[in-house]
């Protein structure tokens, strides 16, 4: 029998709202499915098999996905929830500098900020990682020593990925040798768009091997893939190839991270874990500049994949200017009034 509570004159007027079943997003979607990666070993046996598999994934309706993302963006996150969200978002930031003009001095300054983002408040959590080009990974690692903050390096001929595989792999090994414990690679979008899925897959496999113990984030560059169907296929490709994270963008192509793209990628990691038991992280990068944007992403994690992903181990923001806005909003919550840009450090 159903247990239905209502109509009683006891109890109190409801205040606020609660999710009916907070554990629901983490539930296994396809009961009885084999929860092992082995079940998918077969799909990469040939170009044809891989194409059939990727094209057999359910399509994404663009209008529906964008409407769902917009709907999640209307959640009203206030007071204690906002404070929790801001601190969590800060702890998820991959503080990034990827300029031709980067120098050891610039990287050391960024590392100092990563350790202690808000000089006025030691209670402010550190960020997750500092993200730099591979040649500066050594500088970053040295400056971050003992902090627990990771050094992420972009590699594989970032951002275009237009180089031979040998050069890309050398790029990865060099960054790892310089101390990077996280590698942000780019997929070969040319090969992907030309339909050579197995080539792209094999390259990710090779990069993963070159990473050794370093974590691999696979950048799909969704702004060049253009369709959500392609984003879903590229997500599955990267996850099957052994990526630890899937990441939206290099930040060098517009549009970079958008909420609907992040939604489709979150659905992919959710379905992948349900099917294989393997959990993959997600990193939107580029274009997330405000606290409001960051909170919308956290709401999306909470309601689409569940709290298992609400940690820097499983979700990152690739950003630079976002951090200062988070700090300003954090100061506002703490003091009750807005300060100005001079109250946070320039990068």
């Amino acid at each position: 029998m159903l247990s239905v509570v209502s109509g009683m004159m006891t109890g109190v007027t409801p205040t606020g709202s609660t999710a009916l079943d907070p554990a629901a997003p983490g539930a296994v979607a396809a009961p009885g499915a084999p929860r092992t990666l082995d079940a998918y070993a077969d799909v990469t046996r040939s170009d044809a098999a891989f194409r059939a598999f990727l094209h057999g994934l359910p399509g994404v309706d663009q209008v529906g996905a964008e409407a769902r993302a917009a709907q999640l963006g209307t959640r009203s996150i206030k007071t204690t929830a906002k404070a929790w969200a801001i601190d969590t978002a800060i702890s998820m930031v991959d503080l990034t500098t990827l300029e031709g003009a980067d120098t050891p001095g610039k990287v050391r300054a960024l590392a100092a900020k990563a350790r202690r983002p808000d000089a006025t408040d030691p209670g402010c959590p550190p960020v997750a990682a500092v993200c730099v080009y591979g040649d500066l990974a050594g500088v970053a690692t040295e400056a971050l020593a003992g902090s627990g903050i990771h050094t992420a390096a972009v590699a594989t001929a970032f951002p275009s990925g237009r180089a031979s595989r040998a050069v890309k792999l050398a790029d990865v090994r060099d960054a790892v040798a310089n101390g990077a414990d996280e590698i942000d690679m780019v997929i070969d979008r040319g090969a992907f768009l030309a339909g050579r899925y197995l080539d792209v897959f094999e390259e990710v496999v090779a990069v993963k091997e070159a990473c050794g113990s370093a974590h691999l984030k696979v950048i799909l560059e969704t702004g060049e893939l253009r369709t959500y169907d392609a984003v879903r296929r590229a997500s599955w490709l990267a996850m099957l190839a052994g990526g630890d994270f899937i990441k939206t963008s290099t930040g060098k192509v517009s549009p970079a991270a958008t909420l609907p793209v992040c939604l489709v990628m979150l659905e992919a990691v959710r379905d992948f874990r349900a099917a294989t038991g393997v959990q993959i992280g997600v990193k939107p990068a580029g274009g997330i500049k405000t606290t409001k944007d960051a909170v919308k992403h956290l709401v999306m994690i909470n309601e689409v994949v569940g709290p298992d992903w609400l940690s820097p181990d499983w979700f990152r923001f690739g950003a630079s200017s976002l951090l200062n806005d988070l700090l300003l909003q954090r100061q506002k919550l703490r003091t009750g009034h807005y300060s100005g840009p001079d109250h946070v450090s320039v990068d």
Binding site: M1, L2, V4, V5, S6, G7, M8, M9, T10, G11, V12, T13, P14, T15, G16, S17, T18, A19, L20, D21, P22, A23, A24, P25, A27, V28, A29, A30, P31, G32, P58, G59, V60, D61, V63, G64, A65, A67, R68, T74, R75, S76, I77, K78, T79, T80, A81, K82, W84, A85, T88, E267, L298, V299, N302, E303, G306, P307, L310
Partner: protein
């Protein structure tokens, strides 16, 4: 549990100036009613909101006389462009006072503030804007040059979308040059009475809009009044039949928008994540108090388990609680009576052998609430596959081939709406052509727009509302 607990984010109710009692709005003024007043409550808390006058036959007669006077002397002879100006003014006032209307609608109806804020009130304003534009272009509705209004329109509306249904009725009637006597639902009269204030604020001539509150007897008096020329009703099929009988043999023109048991058809090539969103929107939007709700899910057997598992996961994320909280997805059932009916039909579904499922979680312990419910293993013979529940209860049936999907979808005494989920455009067009439903949504559900005609087949009623077809119901050839 999630570490990310959303703090309460209630919309303030201080914007609403609730009166302890309300009269009838007749001939431009609030006047007492002669019936025994009734009370309207907040279904989320059972708190009494206000006392509402009840119109008797004599009160309705007074309202119809006022409407007739206004039609003959003011509204009928007025330049069409000037009628349009009044409608534009009303539309703008609805927008200006949108928050007030949204909060009041949520208090009186129990629906989440996000729905009244983002759907009901904006759509109500949109209907007035749309029809305001038509007021001086009636030559183009398709009835030849200079079509004429019927005269006095008697309108009876339901409690599920109180303000929006008012707009669907009042806006086209006024644009076409008719005057109106409207009876709101007995459990949700407040936004109609606030609308009466807007009519005063807009300086609408007295008698053009009259609002007579009350229950079934008042509605019957409106429909049966001999000087009413046009009757429009939205509500249950049972009452619709009574009205059709009452109107038969008179010169009154009638449109009925009644119940439904819409099929929402999910093919195996559907975009599954979006289909699940559409299923949720189809049946849990407005607590399922929607005549076009997608209450019968027809899912292809080959994707049944996957779709149901995703659907259950998604339902668990719905947020229930204070309807004024901006994060609430599922609000209160509108009345104790409706809650009893939902429980009765759910009990019948269980007894018939269908398999019920509800998410974990608690409901508020005061007010009228019902958990989102999914019945699987439903047969087309079960009553929960045939009767309109008008609540958050989904019946899941399966099919194997497109032909079977069409046959099962059409196997209903209703025919108001339907949904199709498929990535294959040609299939969507082919299935849509075979469905006997007034509205067919493709890869979406429960989308409304004033330009789009809405109405049903079979026992879902006749006539259309919205668009050119809807406007024609308020006009005759000259």
């Amino acid at each position: 549990m999630s570490p990310f607990e959303y703090a309460p984010a209630p919309e303030s109710r201080s914007i609403v100036d609730l009166q302890p009692s309300y009269g009838l709005f007749v001939d431009g003024e609030f006047t007492p009613g002669r019936g025994t007043p009734l009370t309207t409550v907040n279904p989320a808390t059972e708190e009494v909101l206000s006392e509402i006058a009840v119109g008797t036959d004599a009160d309705v007669d007074r309202a119809v006389r006022a409407a007739r006077r206004a039609f003959t002397r003011v509204w009928g002879p007025m330049r069409p462009a000037d009628r349009g100006k009044y409608l534009f003014r009303i539309a703008r006032l609805l927008q200006e006072r949108a928050r007030e209307f949204a909060v009041l609608e949520t208090l009186d109806n129990g629906k989440p503030i996000t729905e009244s804020r983002d759907v009901d009130v904006p759509l109500a304003a949109a209907h007035f804007f749309y029809h305001a534009g038509w007021a001086d272009k009636l030559d183009h509705v398709g009835l030849g040059a200079a079509p004429r209004p019927h005269g006095v329109a008697g309108q009876v509306i339901p409690w599920n979308f109180p303000l929006m249904m008012l707009a669907w009725k009042v806006a086209p009637a006024l644009a076409a040059g008719n005057t109106v006597v409207l009876k709101p639902a007995e459990t949700t009269p407040l936004t109609a009475l606030l609308f009466a204030e807007v009519c005063q604020q807009a300086d609408l001539p007295p008698g053009v809009v009259n609002i007579v509150t009350g229950a079934g007897d008042t509605g019957r008096a409106v429909v049966e009044h001999p000087d009413v020329d046009k009757v429009a009703f939205t509500g249950s099929t049972e009452v619709g039949k009574q009205i059709a009988r009452a109107v038969a043999g008179t010169s009154k023109v009638l449109t009925l928008e009644l119940g439904g048991k819409a099929a929402n058809i999910v093919f195996d090539d559907a975009p599954i994540d979006q289909a699940v969103e559409g299923i949720v929107r189809g049946i849990f939007f407005n607590q399922g108090h929607v005549c076009c709700a997608g209450s019968r899910l027809l899912v292809q057997e080959s994707v049944h388990d996957e779709v149901i598992a995703s659907l259950q996961r998604r339902i668990g994320t719905l947020r229930v609680g204070d309807p004024l909280d901006k994060n609430t997805d599922v609000g209160a059932i509108n009345s104790a009576e409706q809650l009893a009916r939902i429980r009765e039909l759910v009990g019948i579904g269980e007894a018939e052998g269908a398999h019920p499922w509800q998410p974990a979680g608690e409901l508020p312990d005061r007010g009228f609430w019902f958990k989102p419910t999914v019945f699987t293993d439903v047969s087309p013979a079960h009553r929960i596959a045939r009767d309109e529940v008008f609540g958050p209860v989904l019946s899941v049936l399966t099919f194997r081939t497109p032909d079977e999907a069409v046959a099962k979808a059409n196997n209903s005494t209703y025919g108001l709406s339907a949904g199709i989920w498929s990535e294959k455009g040609s299939r969507i067009l082919s299935i849509a052509n075979q469905l006997r439903a007034g509205v067919v949504w493709a890869n979406t559900f429960n989308q409304f727009d004033p330009t789009s005609p809405f109405g049903g087949y079979k026992q879902s009623g006749y006539g259309r509302e919205g668009g050119r077809l809807g406007l024609r119901a308020y006009l005759k050839e000259s």
